[in-house]
Assembly symmetry: C2
Homo-oligomer: 716 residues x 2
C-alpha cells in the first residue's frame, strides 16, 4: 500500500477535544470506537477528565504511548493548527479535522485554513478535512468519525471503498447501498480537502488489495490532472470508480459553493474527463447503488448488444425504449438461437429479441425448457449482455428462475442483470439465490438498461486504455508530455516571444506548425496593386489583419466572394476605410486574401485553459443555432484520433457528418486527426497559450480533408 | 357512477372455464375470491366438476342464479365469442377475457378478436381484454383476475385506481407502490383493449367517488381524442392522472407491438397531448411511486419556486442541479425570512436559499429555533413549495424533525416534500409521523426536485383549464368544434372541391382565409412581359407554380434576389426551362413573384393528421441543423395562443426568439397568434386536409409580425 496505509488502517487513534457530551464529535468518535470494538489503541485527550467511554483520558498528545497513526481533532477552528504541531512532535503522521469554520465560513476561516495548510506542510502531517465527518475502516472497525458516519446502520464489511465531499448527502448514499446489501471497506469524508484530496484517496484505494469498487461523491477538484491520473490508475487496476458529481448547473454551483467552497468549474470539462478515464458517472443515489451491484458481479460486456428475455412485454418495451436512448442495441438473434427458442418456449411466445415467453413461467409441460431458452440467448454470438424481465413474477417463479439463472450465469462470462419488482419480503429465496450467484436484481427495466449502458461504456474505456501503445504520443502523454518542443515550434513559426492575441496569419502559422491544414492565404499590403493580385485563386475572401482586432466581421473587416483583381482593389479600400472608422486605435498590418471554400460543413474548435484541468479542446458546429443549443463536446488535451472520433460522435447533431438531405458525408477521418492535432498543440503550448479558436474549421466531403479558414490564438 | 359501475363493483362474478388446476387462470380467480373473502356471488362454470374452491360449480352460465355482473372467461380464444352470447342471454353485462391468442398472435387471432368485437356490439356485453390479467376491486375484494393480480402482496385499500395495458410490468409498479405504503381502490389490466379502452376506465375512475389519484401504464391508444377527453375530465375533477408511456422509440415500439399489438403512434404527439391535459407523465417505476406519494398529500403549488432547507449542503447542491434542469427556481428570500433564519439557526449556517443549518440538528441550545426557520421558509411569499433535506439525519433527528414538520405543514397549504436516506427500519418514528401528516418522504434530492417540478406543471395545467373561457373558440373546442364553417371558407378561397396537393398560391389563399399572414405575391404568366413586372417590390423571389411539384427549389424552380424587371424576365426563362427539363410531366400554371423578407427568424409549422389524435400542429426552426436535432414541439389542434406560447417555449433553441448575438428579439406574440390560427385551420378542415406545411414562416422583430413565405396544403 501507499502513503496512506496507516491513515486507512490505523494502529491507534487519538481524539483531541474528547468530550463527555453525547452531542459532541469528540464523544461520538470514542463511543463508536468502543461500541464497534476497535482493537487498536484509543487515546482521548482532554485534561478535564480522567476517562471517557471507558478509555483513560490524557492531558495532551505528548502523553500518548504506543502506536498512534491518527489524531482526530474535535476542537474549534483556531486551535487546530496547534494540535497539528503537537501531532508532529509526537510522531502522529495523520490527522482528521472534523470541525467547520474554515474556508466555507468566509475570509477569517480561509486564513485559518491557510495556517492549517502551512503547518501541515512544515510538519509533514497529512490531514483529512476540515469540515467533515471523518473516516471509517469498516473491516478494522476503526472510527475516526462522528455524526451519521457513527450512527446506524452498522456497515457490513465488503469490497466497496467510498470517498465523499459532502458527508451528509454521501452518507445517505452509503446507507441506501448498505440497506441494499452492499458491504464496505473504507469510507472517507474529505470535507474542504485543505490537504488530502479525493484523488489521493482514490489512489490509496487502488493500492488497497481489499477494495474492488470505488464510490465517490464529488463537487469539484482543485487539480483536474491529478484526479484524472488517479481515475486512470483505478481503471487500469480494474477497480471501477462510480461517481456522483454535483454543482453542475448555475443553481447547483451556487449551492455547492456556499457549502464546502470547493471549486466546481465547468461541468462540461468534468464530464469529458470522466469519459476519458472510464469513470462511471451516475446522476442519482439509486443509479449509484444499481451500478455498484452490477460491478460487484465482476463481469464486463464486450459491447453494447443486449439479449432480452422475460415474461412481460411491457417490461421489454420499457427496456427497449431506454436502450434506444442510451445506445444499447437489441440485435436480431442468430438462426440457432431462434431455433432453440422455438423448440423450448410456449406456443404464444414472442421469439424475437426481446423474447417474451408470456405469463405462466415456469409452466411444467412437455416440450418446454426455459433454461435452454435463457442459455440460448446468452450464448448467442450477437449478444454481449443478458437482461431478464421477471417483472411481477411471483415468489415461486423467482425462486425457480433464480436457480435456473445461477446455472446459466456459471456457464457464461457475459453480464446478466435481472429486473424484478419483488423485494426481499416477497421473493426471499429467489433473490437470495440470484445474489449468491452474483447476479444483480434491479427494480425497473429502465434501471437495468441504464446500468447495462454504463457497464458497456466502462468496458469500452478499459479496452481503449489497453489499446494505447506506449509510443502513441498523444494518448499516452497526459502525464508525460507529448515530446513536442513547444519553444522550437514557436521559433519555427516566427512566434517566439509573442504575447497577447496573434493576428490571423500568425495564428494560422501556429496551427500549421502542428499539422493543422489552413487555407493558403496571401498577405497583401493595405493598399494592394493589381500586380499583388496575380495568381490569386478568385473568387477570394479579403480580411483585415490586425493583432488588435478579434472579431473582424463585426466591423466590416471581411468581404466574401471577390471575383476579380479590380473588385479586390475596391474591396480593400472599403475594408480599410470601415475598419479605421470603427477602430481608429487598431494597428493594421495588412490584408489577407484567402480562397473561398464551398460545399463544406462549418465546424469550430476551441482551446481553453481550464483552471482545474489545464488545456481542454471544445468542438461543435458553426452557426448561432448550434451555439444556442450548446451542442459542443469536450476533451481534456492531449488525446488521440480515436478519442477525437468519440468526441465527434457525442454531438447531438452528429448525423450531419454522415450527410443528410442530399449532402455528402464529410471527412470525419481527417477531422478526427485535426482535433487530435489541436489537442497536441494545446498540451504542448500549455504554458504559453491562453486560448485558441479555429472558427470556422470547414469539413469537406469524404477524402477531401478539412481546412481552417480563420484562427485566433492568444498567448501569454 | 357511470356505465362501468357494476364492472368495477360487481354483485356477483361467474368464472367460465373454472378449473381445479392451480396453474390455470380459471382456478386462480376462484381461489383469490375465496381467500380474500369476496362477499358477492361466485359462480364457477364447468360441467366437469361439482364444486371448485368451495364454490358450487355450474354446467353453464344459464344456471347462474342471483345478481351476476361479470363473467370471467378463461377459455381458449375460439370459444370466447360463444360465451359472450351466453352472457347476453343470461343478462350478464360485463365480461373479462383473460386468455391470449387474439390480435397479438397474428392474422388468425385478429379474426377471432374481430368476431369478439362484433359479438359484443351485437349483444351489448362490454368486455375487458383479451390478453390480460383481469381486474380487482380492492375495497370489495372482488377478483376477476389471475396471475400476479392475485398473488402477494395483498393490496391495502386506498384512494389510488390503476389501469394497465401491460399487466406484468404494470403489476410490478403496483407492487412497488404497495410496498411503499400506497393503498388501492381498483386495478384494471386492459390487455388488447378490443372493447373497453383505457380512456373509458379513466372516465369510470373520474366517476368513482373513492378514487383520488389515477395511475396508468400505456403503450398506445386507438382514439387519442377520446383519451384526451377522459384525461381532461380527470384534470377538471382534481384527480391527477400519473402515467408511464412505453413504446416511444424505434426499438421500444417494435417491442410493444409484438406484445399487445396496441398502436403506439408518434410519441411526440402523445407527449403533447399529455401536456395539454395535465397528465403527469413519469419515466420510471420509482418516479411514479414518488408522484403518487406527493399527490396523495393533496397539495398543489402556486408556481415553480422552491424554498430549500436542511443539514446537507451536498443534498442542496444535488437538488439545485436538478431544479435547474427541470425548471424549478430557488428564489432569494424576503428580508423577513432572512432575519428569522439569522435569529433561529446555528452560527455557521448558510442563510440563503438553499438554507444549510449544517450538522447537529436539532442541537438543543439557547437561541436556536429550527421550527421557526422551517416556518419562515414555507411562509416566504417567494416560495411555492418547501423541500427539506434531512439526508442522513438519524433516527432521533428524523423523529424530532417529523414532529416539527407536521406542525409546519398544518399551518400552510403549500406542498412540502422531505428527502431522507433512512428507511422504515432506520427511522420508524419520524417516517410514521411524516406519513401521518401527509408529507411525502423521497430517498434522493433529485427525486424530490423531479416530483416538485411535475407537481408545478400539473398545477399549471389545472389553472390553465380553469382559465379557459367558454367563449374561447380555439381552446374550448377540442370536443365541440371551432364553429368555423370549413366548406364556406374553402369556397371563399376558391378551393371547394379541390383534392390533392394545392399549389403555393392556393395554399396561401387557404392560410390567409384563417388570418395567417402571407407574402403579397403576384401571379405572372410563364412568359411574363415587362408590363407584368410593373409595381413589383424589387428585389423579389420568383417561383414556379404547379400542383404537381412539391419541392420547387430542388429542381431549380426558385430564384432569389431578382433586382430588376429585366432580370426577372431572364430568371423566368431559366426557371421554366429547368423545371420542364426536370419534370416534363408537371402541369405549370405560372410564376409567383414575391417580396424578399430579410432579417427575420426562419421557422416552420406543419399540420399532420395523426391516425390516433387527428390534426396535430408541429412547430420548429428552419434549417437542416434544427431538422437533424429534431428540435420540434407539437400540440393537438385546436389550441389557443397561450398554449402556442408554451409550445414555442418548449423548443431547446427558444433563446433565439429573445435575440442572441446582437439579433433583435422576434415577435413571439404574433407567432403564437399564428400558431393558434394554424391549429384552428387544422381542426376546422380535419375532414378535408391531409397535411400542410408553412415553410418558411418568417418571424420578424417585435411588433413587425410574421409572414408565411411558402405553403403547401394537401387535400383529400
Amino acid at each position: 500500500m501507499g502513503a496512506f496505509e496507516r491513515l486507512l488502517d490505523p494502529r491507534g487513534i487519538a481524539v483531541v477535544g474528547a468530550s463527555i457530551e453525547a452531542s459532541r464529535p469528540g464523544n461520538q468518535t470514542l463511543v463508536a470506537l468502543k461500541e464497534n470494538g476497535y482493537a487498536g489503541g484509543v487515546y482521548p485527550v482532554n485534561p478535564k477528565y480522567p476517562e471517557i467511554a471507558g478509555y483513560r483520558c490524557l492531558a495532551s498528545l505528548a502523553q500518548v504511548e504506543g502506536d498512534c497513526d491518527i489524531a482526530v481533532i474535535a476542537l474549534p477552528a483556531p486551535q487546530v493548527a496547534g494540535v497539528l504541531r503537537e501531532c508532529a512532535a509526537r510522531g502522529i503522521r495523520h490527522a482528521v479535522v472534523l470541525g467547520g469554520g474554515f474556508r466555507e465560513a468566509g475570509a477569517g476561516g480561509a486564513a485559518l485554513e491557510g495556517e492549517l495548510q502551512a503547518t501541515a506542510r512544515a510538519s509533514g502531517v497529512r490531514f483529512i478535512g476540515p469540515n467533515c465527518l471523518g473516516l471509517v475502516n469498516v473491516h478494522a472497525r476503526a472510527y475516526a468519525a462522528w455524526g451519521s458516519l457513527t450512527r446506524p446502520p452498522r456497515l457490513a464489511p465488503g469490497p466497496v471503498s467510498v470517498v465523499l465531499q459532502s458527508a451528509s448527502f454521501g452518507m445517505s448514499l452509503v446507507i441506501q447501498a448498505a440497506q441494499a446489501g452492499v458491504g464496505f471497506r473504507h469510507v472517507v469524508t474529505s470535507g474542504n480537502e485543505a490537504d488530502v484530496s479525493t484523488a489521493e484517496i482514490i489512489d490509496a484505494y487502488v493500492d488497497d488489495p481489499g477494495t474492488r469498487v470505488i464510490l465517490s461523491y464529488l463537487e469539484g477538484v482543485a487539480d483536474g490532472r491529478r484526479f484524472m491520473a488517479a481515475a486512470r490508475r483505478a481503471l487500469a487496476a480494474g477497480k471501477p470508480l462510480v461517481l456522483i458529481k454535483a454543482g453542475n448547473t448555475v443553481q447547483g454551483r451556487r449551492a455547492a459553493q456556499s457549502h464546502t467552497a470547493n471549486m466546481t468549474g465547468e461541468y462540461d470539462v468534468y464530464r469529458a474527463a470522466f469519459r476519458q478515464c472510464g469513470v462511471i458517472e451516475v446522476d442519482d443515489v439509486q443509479a449509484a447503488v444499481d451500478m455498484v451491484a452490477c460491478l460487484l458481479g465482476g463481469r464486463l460486456p464486450a459491447g453494447n448488444r443486449v439479449g432480452v428475455i422475460g415474461g412481460s412485454g411491457g417490461a421489454a418495451a420499457m427496456f427497449a425504449d431506454q436502450a434506444d436512448l442510451c445506445g444499447l442495441e437489441l440485435p436480431a438473434f442468430a438462426a440457432a438461437t431462434a431455433e432453440a427458442l422455438q423448440a423450448s418456449l410456449p406456443p404464444l411466445s414472442v421469439l424475437r429479441n426481446p423474447v417474451d415467453y408470456t405469463a405462466g413461467f415456469p409452466r411444467p409441460q412437455a416440450g418446454l425448457d426455459f433454461e435452454r431458452a435463457f442459455q440460448a440467448v446468452i450464448d448467442d454470438p450477437q449478444v454481449d449482455q443478458l437482461a431478464v424481465m421477471f417483472a411481477a413474477a411471483g415468489r415461486r417463479q423467482v425462486a425457480h428462475g433464480g436457480e435456473l439463472l445461477a446455472r446459466v450465469a456459471a456457464s457464461s462470462s457475459k453480464p446478466l442483470v435481472v429486473f424484478s419488482g419483488m423485494d426481499e419480503s416477497l421473493a426471499p429465496e429467489g433473490l437470495a439465490t440470484l445474489r449468491a450467484a452474483g447476479i444483480p436484481v434491479l427494480a425497473s427495466p429502465k434501471r437495468v438498461a441504464l446500468a447495462m449502458a454504463k457497464l458497456a461504456a466502462h468496458a469500452g474505456a478499459r479496452r481503449a486504455l489497453a489499446d494505447v501503445r506506449p509510443a502513441s504520443a498523444a494518448a499516452g502523454a497526459v502525464d508525460a508530455g507529448t515530446g513536442v518542443d513547444a519553444e522550437a515550434v514557436l521559433r519555427s513559426a516566427g512566434l517566439a516571444g509573442h504575447a497577447g492575441a496573434l493576428d490571423e496569419a500568425a495564428s494560422k502559422r501556429l496551427a500549421s506548425a502542428f499539422g493543422i491544414p489552413v487555407t493558403v492565404d496571401r498577405l497583401l499590403p493595405l493598399e494592394p496593386s493589381l500586380a499583388d493580385c496575380e495568381g490569386l485563386p478568385f473568387p477570394v475572401v479579403l480580411k483585415i489583419v490586425s493583432n488588435d482586432i478579434a472579431h473582424k466581421s463585426d466591423i466590416g473587416g471581411v468581404q466574401l466572394g471577390i471575383a476579380s483583381p479590380q473588385a479586390l482593389l475596391q474591396a480593400a479600400r472599403r475594408i480599410v476605410a470601415d475598419v479605421r472608422a470603427a477602430r481608429p486605435d487598431a494597428a493594421l498590418s495588412g490584408l489577407l486574401a484567402a480562397p473561398m471554400v464551398e460545399g463544406a460543413l462549418e465546424t469550430l474548435v476551441g482551446v481553453v485553459n481550464d483552471p482545474g484541468f489545464g488545456p481542454v479542446v471544445a468542438f461543435g458546429l458553426g452557426g448561432v443555432l448550434a451555439e444556442v443549443l450548446h451542442d459542443m463536446s469536450y476533451r481534456v488535451a492531449p488525446f488521440d484520433a480515436a478519442q477525437a472520433r468519440s468526441m465527434i460522435g457525442e454531438l447531438r447533431a452528429r448525423a450531419l457528418f454522415d450527410g443528410v438531405r442530399g449532402r455528402a458525408a464529410v471527412d470525419v477521418d481527417a477531422l478526427a486527426d485535426v482535433l487530435a492535432r489541436v489537442s497536441v498543440l494545446a498540451w504542448s503550448l500549455r504554458d504559453r497559450l491562453l486560448e485558441m479558436d479555429i472558427n470556422p474549421l470547414l469539413v469537406r466531403p469524404v477524402g477531401q480533408g478539412v481546412v481552417a479558414v480563420d484562427a485566433l490564438a492568444v498567448m501569454r
